[in-house]
Amino acid sequence: MAEQRGPLPGLPGRRRFLGYLVAAPTLAVAVDWTSGLTAAPEARASVPTLPQPEQIFDLGDMQDLAASPTSGLITVVVGSDGTASFAVPRAEVGQGMTTAMAMMVAEELDLPLAQVTITLADARPELLFNQMTGGSNSMRSMYTPVRTAAAIARQQLIAAAAAQWGVSAAQVTTADGVLTGPAGQTATYGQLAAAAAATSATAVTVTLKPPSSFTILGTAQTRIDAADIVTGRKRFTMDLQVTGALPAMVARPPTINGTVVSVNNEAAVLAMPGVTDVAVLPHGVAIRAATFGQCIDAIQVINVTWGAGTADGQSDASVEATLRASLPPLAPAPPLSSSVTGSFFFAFNSNTPLEPDCAIANVTASSAEIWAPLKTPIVAQSQIAAALGLPAGAVTVHVTQGGGSFGRHLFHDAALEAALASQAMGKPVKLCWSRTDTFRQGRTHPMCISQVRASYLLGNVVAYQQLHTSVQTDFGHGLGDVVTATAAELPVTGLALSQTIFDLTQSSPYNFGVTSQSLNEVSLGFNTGSMRNIYSPNVVCAQELIVDRLAGAMGQDPVRFRLAFLQDSRMLAVLNAAAAAGPWGRPMPAGTAQGIAVHSEYQAAIAVLAEIDCTAATVNRTVANGVTGPRVTRVIVVVDPGFAINPRGLEAQMIGGVQDGIAMALTSSLHIAGGLPLEGSWDNYFYTREWNVPLDVQVIIMPATSDSPSGAGELGVAPAMAAVACAYARATGTMPTRFPINHDAALAFTPLPAEPSTPQSPTDGLSFTF
């Protein structure tokens, strides 16, 4: 969105923002996006460490800049029922984006939050780079444009009322969706929505409310879909009723990305109860039936000859050996300095949400309609169209509410399969991956090794080097547009893009002299992708463990050491607050300890203090079909988000990030054997469960340090993982170097067979009622 600078009559110094009245039956205001371009932060005065790329220009800025040339508009509409509606070109996957958008509209319109409707826009290719949900960027990029559209809508309603009442606009006030005139005249927004509508496109400028006038933004609000959720009314993809879209599941190969050589008993499968169709897909055989249960039945029976996959024969050991063979050497320590070094191993993780990958597709000879929770719907539209042999314009992509994402929905794997199955069958399908599919064939956060050397001399840290070597992370979605997605598919460009994303997301927050962090990737045929917070959990975990070591080597307390070397005042503030809330250093029984870690990303600052119980009584708890181990008992998160749009939602993101960090440090990983992950259920892949949840989690939100929000959806994961690892090191006296800490122990479960790819459901559920 264009912004007019310079003094304006009566409003010296106040920025005015530009939008457009759009011809429509009722009031409609459109803005474009470029005002979402956040100002590049000034390079911090960090001597002697030079700023790393992330500090000058981070991933969110890159996305913002990519969005600059977009001419596509987003539109807020005020209806004759007095509600405001906005189809947001983003995905809602639990992060609270829709609630925050509703708050922005309500604030600038002076409308009750309940009268704002936020829907998810279909794929809009004209928005170019502007329809990607990722990088914790939504709040940052949409904060100004959405408020501008709402503010112009309010301005137009006031003008319409003033004209109707024969008064000046300055004499009309607004509150709770009602306009009031000087003689007590009143009108609802709904009554004037038509009168305020434009008959031709008109450019309009407006000033936005100063934060000191906010009554909704910055206040704690409950999710706008909370009532629908607790009553079961919220509809996810699998809950949608599309005529004729019967359930479909896929029989899959016993190795990652295996192929179909032949289906050997198709007639027998088609004769099974409920089964209607069978279709060969690139990496499996889709079965359509009256119920998902009958799809699962058919997967037990189907006989397929499978071809090779892309990671056949690979195991944890072989992948780790490949990474170790690729490790670059650390630079030698500067002359006369002493060093602390570490090499940290991180196993594969799964980014699957609780909702299995699911999509509905209705493909005909000339068109296709897709429903799926997509964070890059433009890329999905383009690539699905290409796979179907249809022009992109013939493919309509509806973005549905996602039951979590954690990176999974940056890709459209299930939507592509649903489209191909529907095309082959000539019928609509509702295709859902089984739980086992999601772990074994779904995307992963790749195995990696982070090497660190920190060198110190005469009380100063003079050099910090971190070499991060990883199985390649697939960024095939690019920046959500067709151009960069295409470029990312080229092997060389793909590696360059991941290097770019690493550089834009990683930076050391410390004044550690000559500092470098670099990425070295190995392509190995695994299905990978971003997982919440991408590289940061591993990089920061390794960094903070080494910082604790450095503090010890230099004879300093970990908190005092960090306070001495942190570059940024916001970081110092969150660390001080966390240490005070602990308090840091309080007496702890033997076998228990505190750990503390800091992180800066998405223009936010955060510190996490964790307390862990590693006593035998706790570690040796038994839970049927589960793992116990150490329990994190208490967590304090102190976050400076710049400006917290919805403190309640921000707190929720921090709480969730803490559970992720605990899982990554202690319990959750994939074990690769024979070209396939062994994990096939949530009783194999040990995400944090109730018995390991901290009983005391406190989130402290710092007073606003900015007028703009920073990113928060992923922010908590890295420092939580690091704080837990640091606490574990202190409680046990041994610095962990392999994560999660239980990864090398004997498997805590019996793996499900590789075939059938989806196991049959139990029948003894009535034996476990309570």
Partner: protein, 158 residues
């Protein structure tokens, strides 16, 4: 094809399907009751938790033929009716604590919470952290701390 009949959220229902079909698919795919979610169909994730005759169970792991005509099946859609209000006290607590993030697990979480609180109450106790530790429902968004707060608060009103 056999006909199966049972009481669903207070109404007698009949459905024609094979004996082996798990109740979850009868509810979701044949009757269109989508509050109970599919998260694994392995009786692990507990996203489909509903009640049978007032007790928590997972319909993904029960054949429809094992449900008797007099059995009362309650899904999240039928929960408020148990107290004759728009919302059950546990649902109200979920709103008060703004528990949900994506919301996919939450119908199952609420149904499990209600059953656990009732079980503990039947034992003449109030709910403890040790009781909450026994819940197996997965929340991949990690809302557990708010779930625990909400269950304790909801229990006060039940």
């Amino acid at each position: 094809m056999p006909t199966h009949t049972f009481i669903l959220n207070g109404d007698q229902v009949s459905v024609d399907c094979d004996d082996d079909v798990r109740l979850l698919w009868v509810l979701r795919d044949l009757l269109g009751v989508t509050g109970p979610k599919y998260g694994c169909a392995l009786d692990v994730c507990k996203a489909c938790t509903s009640h049978i005759n007032g007790k928590a169970f997972n319909p993904c792991s029960v054949r429809v033929s094992d449900i008797q005509p007099a059995d009362e099946i309650t899904t999240i859609e039928g929960l408020p009716a148990t107290v004759g209000a728009d919302l059950h006290p546990m649902q109200r607590a979920w709103l008060d604590f703004d528990v949900a993030q994506c919301g996919y697990c939450q119908p199952g979480q609420i149904m499990a919470a209600v059953a656990l609180v009732e079980q503990v109450a039947a034992e003449g106790r109030t709910i403890t952290d040790a009781d909450l530790d026994t819940l197996r429902n997965i929340c991949r968004c990690g809302t557990y701390p708010r779930i625990r707060e909400a269950i304790k608060a909801g229990a006060q009103s039940m």
